[in-house]
């Protein structure tokens, strides 16, 4: 797999594989991003991986282009995607599904032709990979969602989705780390904090991590929420 390396404006480069949501491609992207961050090329101010591409942001007035391109070429050539650098951790995220926490659970059940309990079972039955963080601080794009419950996002966003809300948009699932407008199908809520601006690593989840949703009832949710506040 050889990616394209193209300018992204005059202050960034983009390393882009064919645009697919695929764990092997994503692992390669993450390896390239890690390698580039480690090189600390002077003038580079951010390295941002996504599903199948990675941007290298730089200050054009402080960056030696030759050195930057050499570093990118080297990272692409040498960063392997077959084995993770470390065993990814699996974060178990307690979720209270449905009721006031999951206003769209009913709609997803109708979409799937299943009961709400069945939708919950399908959502919580396996681990999800974190492919990228974007859209909001700490918002992890998780996938792949079982096709039976892969309801598309709303045509227009809800003005306010509460922090901790667990949503589905097609084959992706995710958790809102802050109150924000949003178009995902909201099926539950978690008390786990996924973004902490006081921390040097403010996003709780990293690309490559694994996530398992664990259904809990209202009482357990309340106890967990009290513990995390």
């Amino acid at each position: 797999m050889k990616p394209r390396i193209t300018p992204l404006g005059d202050s960034a480069l983009l390393v882009a594989f064919d645009p697919v949501i695929d764990a092997a491609v994503n692992a390669r992207v993450l390896a390239i991003a890690a390698r580039l961050r480690g090189r600390q090329v002077p003038g580079v101010r951010d390295v941002v991986p996504a599903y199948a591409s990675c941007a290298v942001h730089f200050d054009p007035l402080r960056t030696d282009r030759g050195r930057l391109h050499a570093a990118v070429d080297e990272a692409v050539a040498s960063a392997g995607g077959d084995a993770p650098a470390a065993t990814p951790s699996t974060l178990r995220i307690p979720v209270c599904y449905g009721g006031p926490f999951g206003p769209d659970l009913g709609a997803v059940a109708v979409f799937a032709g299943l009961s709400e309990d069945e939708v919950v079972r399908l959502h919580a039955q396996h681990d999800y990979r974190v492919f990228m963080i974007g859209f909001l601080p700490g918002f992890a794009y998780l996938g792949p969602v079982d096709a039976r419950i892969a309801a598309p996002r709303h045509p227009a966003p809800r003005p306010l989705v509460r922090s901790g809300s667990v949503g589905i948009a097609g084959r992706q699932t995710g958790v809102y780390p802050l109150d924000a407008p949003g178009g995902w199908q909201i099926i539950g809520r978690t008390p786990v904090r996924l973004f902490d601006p006081a921390s040097d690593t403010p996003a709780r989840l990293s690309p490559g991590d694994m996530v398992r949703f664990v259904p809990v009832d209202r009482d357990e949710y309340a106890r967990a929420a009290a513990g995390t506040s």
Partner: protein, 311 residues
């Protein structure tokens, strides 16, 4: 630490430094000044380092009381106002005594100005930056725009900074009608993107009212209708996206870190200050440019700042 008291906050006044870099991989927007050149000029004029926090002033300016004496500078959009009744017109350097009142009045050209105080405006560092990102609620004063009654501290300045004067060409970024924004091709390399790029550089667009620090929605001839959405990919300031609606979106300082719309063109860094000076109703055209010309343009505006710094 005393500084200024906000008597009237103005339309949208926020604390900004050069932006929150290094955390886009955690989904954290860069934020920072929309017109980074004018922010730097204001800091230079009062002897601050470039990353000192300024107040970004949008549209209607604030009324401020100085709770301590401070050397101030205002750069960017041209405003008239007064300091304890004495009129000023920006760009300007003012020595404001303790207890004086700084009033922003009429805005002449441009949309955003920067108020610097010697020593820099104070705010807690959040992930290494004082820049305000109102959408995420990070940075500045409580992660929001200033309100009537706020107090913003000013850190102690270096003593004896020489008085400086704004250069005659400090208004190079102020809008003409139409403003010309130079662009390079975006990363998408398919027929849809080719067609959309041609439409972008041959049309004339207006900044719609649905525009803010995240980005400007542009109205005008439809661009790229029917272009397929993409999986989320990283974005940059100045990126012109083409959503299904056909109205291009020009991404600015508070843009999200990634996006799924076709990425057709990118405004060059040297023209972002010009883009930042546009408000709703202003007209613009895009002009095709290459990477070499983009770098030369950036070097040219950097030289103007360096010349002041050396004076």
């Amino acid at each position: 630490m005393t500084g200024v008291s906000v008597l009237r906050a103005g339309l949208m006044t926020t604390i900004q430094d050069e932006g929150r870099w290094g955390y886009q991989a955690a989904g954290v927007p860069v934020a920072g000044p929309m017109d980074g050149w004018s922010h730097r000029l204001a800091n230079l004029l009062v002897g601050n380092p470039r990353d000192a926090a300024t107040l970004e002033i949008t549209g209607t300016g604030p009324d401020l009381r100085l709770d301590r004496a401070a050397r101030l500078a205002i750069a960017g959009a041209t405003f008239s106002g007064h300091l304890d009744g004495r009129p000023w017109t920006s760009p300007v350097v003012l020595d404001a005594p303790a207890g004086s009142q700084l009033v922003f009045g009429r805005r002449e050209r441009g949309f955003r100005a920067y108020l610097a105080a010697a020593g820099g405006f104070g705010a807690p560092l959040v992930l290494g930056s004082r820049a305000t990102d109102v959408r995420s609620g990070l940075g500045g004063l409580g992660g929001r725009a200033l309100r009537d009654g706020d107090r913003v501290p000013i850190a102690a300045g270096r003593r004896g900074a020489a008085g400086r004067v704004a250069p005659p060409d400090a208004g190079w970024m102020l809008p003409e009608a139409p403003a010309r924004l130079r662009v390079v091709r975006g990363p998408d390399e398919d027929e849809d993107a080719d067609r959309a790029y041609e439409q972008l550089v041959s049309g004339s667009f207006t900044v719609s009212p649905q525009s803010d620090r995240m980005g400007y929605r542009l109205s005008g001839p439809p661009v790229g209708i029917g272009a397929a959405p993409r999986i989320s990919a990283p974005v940059v300031a100045g990126l012109v996206q083409v959503p299904p609606s056909g109205d291009p979106v020009l991404l600015m300082a508070d843009r999200q870190t990634t996006g799924g719309y076709p990425a057709v063109a990118v405004v060059i860094a040297a023209d972002l200050p010009r883009a930042a000076q546009l408000g709703p109703g202003d007209r613009l055209v895009f002009e095709s440019c290459n990477q070499d010309a983009a770098l030369q343009a950036l070097l040219a505006i950097e030289r103007t700042l360096l010349a002041i710094d050396g004076s």
